[in-house]
């Protein structure tokens, strides 16, 4: 389905899914009459102000040092709208709303995004959405969102209303104890949510900051693809590193120079080849590794090592790993059995012990693992419920000895280098 067909279909479905209100022509007439009266009285008031000002000027003569003789006319009150009335007892400023707590515990609440803090798996955040397929009783026909955060596995919970849209490619990571970083990879916004429920929008600046804590580095949307940002939690500022880091698999914290896959503007899927690029003293170097439409860099590679994966063209059951440890002078090529099911939009990351962890999020979150020393890729984790909402903000993070992965409102943690996984099930 093309983007045009998707738009036309979505427009029809969204439009058909809304029940228009009853619009009373008499109410329209009454408002029109009231608007006319207001305009007339505003005209009168304005005329009066002009008259008073003229009189005051005459009385004041040339004494311009005596301001304030004229009291300004009161500002007209804003136009009232005669639409839906608030639900009785509703204290929220926006009528017909749900409190965040009500959203989270609503019978039809859908878990949209979930994340755990690797350093403390009892510290979690979950984001919920209630989409009323019929008008919500006494609440009006809306869609509501809320977030729930905890430090004790939801024995106690802080509820909040997120100031960002859900479901548009949100990455959630933990840059500091008790703080979640929400990064909207599509629209480019970032927010910090702490476990007290305070939310701060992150300001992005094009400048260089080199924090020592690896948790403060994160991939943020760049001009070409993801670039590297360093976070200052105290000031809620993200320092976006210069353009040469755009598309780099190496983080500036590694001490490496930037290296990555397929320089702008040649994505692998269109160029039909996997290209490695790396910055050297004599400029950016480029090498074509293989002909393929599926391949990318491997994140988390140790400093000094550039690593890439590719599936050979023609639907081979093998994944090939290309590695260079001397800035492109020599390359090792390592073929691994992967099986036909290891396919789709893959990404790859190194585990704490250097194993290869391949994962995909669609149609369900699956993780495969291959030892660094050799051997095939084996499935080590699979999301149980395929009907979870699809959120493209999938990610795999490594912190100390823990690996955690999240996508599609599922989060799982591994404490043994990705061999076994525990799905976190409590989210409210």
């Amino acid at each position: 389905m093309t983007v045009h067909e998707r738009l036309a279909r979505a427009a029809r479905q969204v439009a058909a899914g809304v029940t228009p209100p009853e619009m009373d022509a008499d109410v329209v007439r009454a408002r029109a009459r009231r608007d006319r009266r207001r305009r007339a009285s505003l005209t009168t008031a304005a005329t009066l102000v002009v008259v008073i000002a003229v009189v005051a000027t005459v009385i004041g003569g040339q004494d311009t040092a005596a301001p304030g003789l004229v009291e300004p006319a009161p500002a007209p009150s804003p136009l009232e709208t005669v639409t839906s009335l608030p639900t009785p007892g509703e204290t929220d400023a926006f009528p017909r709303s749900m409190t965040p707590e009500e959203v989270v515990h609503h019978p039809r609440a859908q878990l949209w995004t979930a994340a755990v803090a690797p350093g403390d798996p009892d510290t979690r955040i979950s984001m919920w959405l209630v989409s009323c397929v019929r008008p919500c009783r006494e609440r009006g026909p809306f869609e509501f969102t809320a977030a729930a955060t905890t430090t004790d596995g939801y024995k106690t919970t802080i509820y909040l209303r997120p100031p960002f849209p859900l479901g548009v490619d949100l990455h959630v990571s933990t840059p500091d104890d008790g703080v979640f970083l929400i990064s909207d990879q599509s629209n480019g916004g970032e927010w910090l949510v702490d476990t007290h429920g305070d939310v701060r929008a992150v300001t992005r600046v094009d400048s260089v900051l080199r924090p020592s804590d690896p948790r403060l580095w994160f991939q943020c949307p760049g001009r070409w693809r993801s670039t590297w940002c360093a976070l200052d939690v105290a000031t809620a500022t993200a320092y976006s590193w210069p353009g040469e880091w755009d598309g780099s698999a190496a983080t500036p914290a590694s001490g490496d120079r930037p290296w990555g896959t397929n320089p702008k503007p040649r994505p692998t899927s269109l160029s039909g080849k996997l290209e490695a690029w790396w910055d050297a003293t004599d400029g950016r170097q480029l090498r074509t590794l293989t002909a393929t439409t599926e391949g990318d860099y491997i994140l988390g590679s140790p400093p000094g090592e550039m690593a890439y994966w590719a599936r050979s063209a023609g639907g081979s059951d093998e994944l090939v790993i290309y590695t260079s440890r001397n800035r492109g002078e020599d390359w090792q090529v390592d073929s691994r059995t992967a099986g036909p099911e290891l396919s789709g939009y893959l990404a790859m990351h190194r585990s704490p012990d250097g194993a290869y962890l391949a994962y995909r999020s669609y149609p369900r979150l699956v993780v495969w693992r291959a030892e660094a020393s050799g051997g095939p890729f084996r499935k080590v984790y699979e999301q149980e419920d395929e009907r979870s909402p699809e959120t493209s903000g999938a990610g795999l993070w490594v912190q100390d000895d823990l690996v955690y992965v999240n996508a599609n409102a599922t989060a799982a943690v591994s404490a043994d280098d990705g061999l076994t996984w525990t799905t976190v099930r409590t989210w409210r």
């Binding site: 979505a10 969204v14 228009p20 209100p21 619009m23 408002r31 029109a32 017909r96 503007p265 692998t268």
Partner: protein, 175 residues
């Protein structure tokens, strides 16, 4: 018995509230704001009703007022953008994944700037030609074309279209 002018206005409101509300809703993404936009538009139509009902296309005029009310609503300093209140309902036939899909698509549309969003609604929901959209928005057909092209490129990226890069200029492509 011949209808009075007032009766014909009442009938016009009754006949076209649903379709115009849906247009307003698609642009605002918010039920109550769509209600506000439509009611303000009806007030304006009523103020000029004798002239409006004499037009060849009174519905076209009303739709134009709705779109312009939406644009002016955004200009009010007190208005704040909300991308969160899109809702789903009846055409839902029980398939959860479909709700997620069209909700996701329309959330992306709601992230567009207001004129691009209006162009998308008029093109993909109202099925208007570029010339009709230009007339409705009071802009040139070339500007409509430019807004439509930019919007579709942006949406292709937001929605992760496999062929997104084919509608993108090289400097904005992503892999």
């Amino acid at each position: 018995m011949q209808q009075s002018t007032e009766d014909r206005f009442t009938e016009f409101v009754r006949a076209h509230t649903a379709s115009l509300f849906r247009t307003a809703y698609l642009m605002t993404g918010d039920y109550q704001r769509a209600e506000d936009v439509l009611q303000a538009a009806w007030v304006r139509v009523y103020s000029h009703w004798p002239r409006v009902e004499a037009m060849d296309q009174p519905l076209g005029y009303a739709r134009k007022v709705v779109v312009n009310q939406y644009v002016s609503w955004w200009r009010r300093p007190s208005s704040r953008e909300s991308l969160l209140t899109l809702r789903d309902e009846p055409a839902w036939d029980g398939r959860l994944e479909e709700i997620a899909e069209h909700g996701r698509v329309w959330r992306a549309v709601l992230s567009l700037p207001r004129r691009q969003r209006a162009v998308v609604v008029l093109r993909y929901y109202e099925d208007m030609t570029e010339a009709q959209i230009a007339e409705t928005l009071g802009i040139s057909p070339g500007t409509v074309k430019s807004h439509a092209h930019t919007a579709v490129r942006r949406l292709a990226v937001l929605l992760g279209e496999p062929d997104a890069t084919s509608v993108l200029p090289a400097e904005e492509a992503t892999s």
